[in-house]
Structures are given as structure tokens and as C-alpha cells.
């Protein structure tokens, strides 16, 4: 009954490969996110979708492409993986609120290691 679930939990791949990370939330939230956490634990937003529409696209290489087939799913596809892409990637979701303020609910992360 995990609220925000990501697969896979671990992903080890070689440079130049293409890989995808999947995320699903069963909370009924309208907004989903991808965050990247580097080796120093710094968390930075990458993308956000609201009702399948892209609303935040931070300065991320265009090798990263999010896709939201429906509002419960947000996948992240990465082309031509590089060593610097090694990190933990977190999916999150948040509910709609009239005040526009609500905490994010995070998944448990996907640890990507590029060799």
C-alpha cells in the first residue's frame, strides 16, 4: 500500500545507455515531481507535472525526458547516460489545495549508478 512507489530501487548501467525510472502514486494527487539528490545529499527539483501538464522544467539536460501518461504516473527517461548522472532520483506528489500550499510526499528513491 505504498503511497508513492518507484521502480527500480537500484539501477546500475554503463555510460551511453538509455534507461527509465517509473513512478506511481495512489494518493489521488494531481501534481508529481522528480527530484535529484547528489552525493552531498542536496535535493534539487528537476520536473513537475500537474494533471499531465509540464509546469516546472529546471535547468536539466535534454537527455532527461519526463512522461506522464496519466496523473498517477510520472516516468523519467534518460538518454546517453553520463557518469555525472549518478545520484538518487526521488519521485514525489502533492495534492491540490485551494491555498496552493501542501507538503510533498516522496517515494523511497532510485539509486542510479553509471559506470
Amino acid at each position: 500500500d505504498t503511497a508513492v512507489s518507484q521502480t527500480p530501487k537500484y539501477l546500475v548501467t554503463q555510460m551511453g545507455n538509455d534507461k527509465s525510472i517509473k513512478c506511481e502514486q495512489n494518493l489521488g494527487h494531481d501534481t508529481m515531481y522528480w527530484y535529484k539528490q547528489d552525493s552531498k545529499k542536496f535535493l534539487k527539483i528537476m520536473f513537475s507535472y500537474n494533471n499531465k501538464e509540464l509546469i516546472i522544467n529546471e535547468t536539466v539536460p535534454n537527455r532527461f525526458s519526463p512522461k506522464s501518461p496519466d496523473k498517477a504516473h510520472l516516468n523519467l527517461h534518460i538518454n546517453s547516460l553520463e557518469l555525472g548522472d549518478s545520484a538518487v532520483y526521488f519521485c514525489a506528489s502533492s495534492p491540490p489545495t485551494g491555498s496552493g500550499r501542501s507538503p510533498l510526499h516522496f517515494g523511497n528513491g532510485t539509486r542510479l549508478t553509471v559506470t
Partner: protein
């Protein structure tokens, strides 16, 4: 351990003591703040939030204080327990529901 090489601010306390974790946020226009706890191998977990029209908010064993004058946020944990050991992040939300900006994180270690 996981903290090696991280160079995070660290706080080490004895079990049963109170802990205070501090955070300086960046934008004076931010109007919503959240504290998260992240245990090893897990995602950030919501602890408590506060809006900018408040100075203090209490939860179960936790209190968040907001000082807008100096752009400072603190998290107080009463009677700290070994299970409280984790990395704690503050996050600020500026003008939009959709973009939380996270602080650097503080590693809390509780000694039994």
C-alpha cells in the same frame, strides 16, 4: 558509515535530550516552510510545516519556529530518541505550490 564524506552539518545529542536544528532560508518572500526527515535508504518524510503568517507551530514532540526578520527556521525535537537519528531538511516554497527549494540538511545522531 553513510556520513563519511558528506560534510553535512551535524548534531549529536544524548537520548532524552532536546534537539534544535537550525536552517537559514534564502528568500524573504517565501511563505510556506516544511521540515523533512530522511532516514538512510528512504525518501524524505514530512514532519511539520508552517506558513509565514505564524511564528510557531507544534506537533507531537516537535516544534517549528519561524523568524522572518532574520530568515531563520528551527526544528525542536523534545526527548530525542534513537529513532530520530536521520538527516533533517528544511524546505521553502516561494509563490507556487509546485516548487520546494531544499536546504543543505543536518545530520542528527542520537547516542543511547
Amino acid at each position: 558509515g553513510e556520513s563519511v564524506g558528506l560534510h553535512l552539518p551535524t548534531l549529536s545529542v544524548q537520548e532524552g535530550d532536546n534537539s534544535i536544528i537550525n536552517c537559514a532560508y534564502s528568500n524573504s518572500a517565501s511563505d510556506y516552510f516544511i521540515w523533512y526527515k530522511q532516514e538512510s535508504g528512504k525518501g524524505p518524510q514530512f514532519i511539520i510545516d508552517i506558513r509565514s503568517n505564524m511564528d510557531k507551530r507544534q506537533g507531537q514532540r516537535v516544534t517549528v519556529l519561524l523568524n522572518k526578520t532574520v530568515k531563520h527556521l528551527s526544528l525542536q525535537i523534545a526527548a530525542t530518541q534513537p529513532g530520530d537519528s536521520a538527516v533533517y531538511f528544511c524546505a521553502e516554497n516561494l509563490g507556487s505550490n509546485y516548487k520546494l527549494t531544499f536546504g543543505k540538511g543536518t545530520l542528527l545522531t542520537v547516542n543511547p
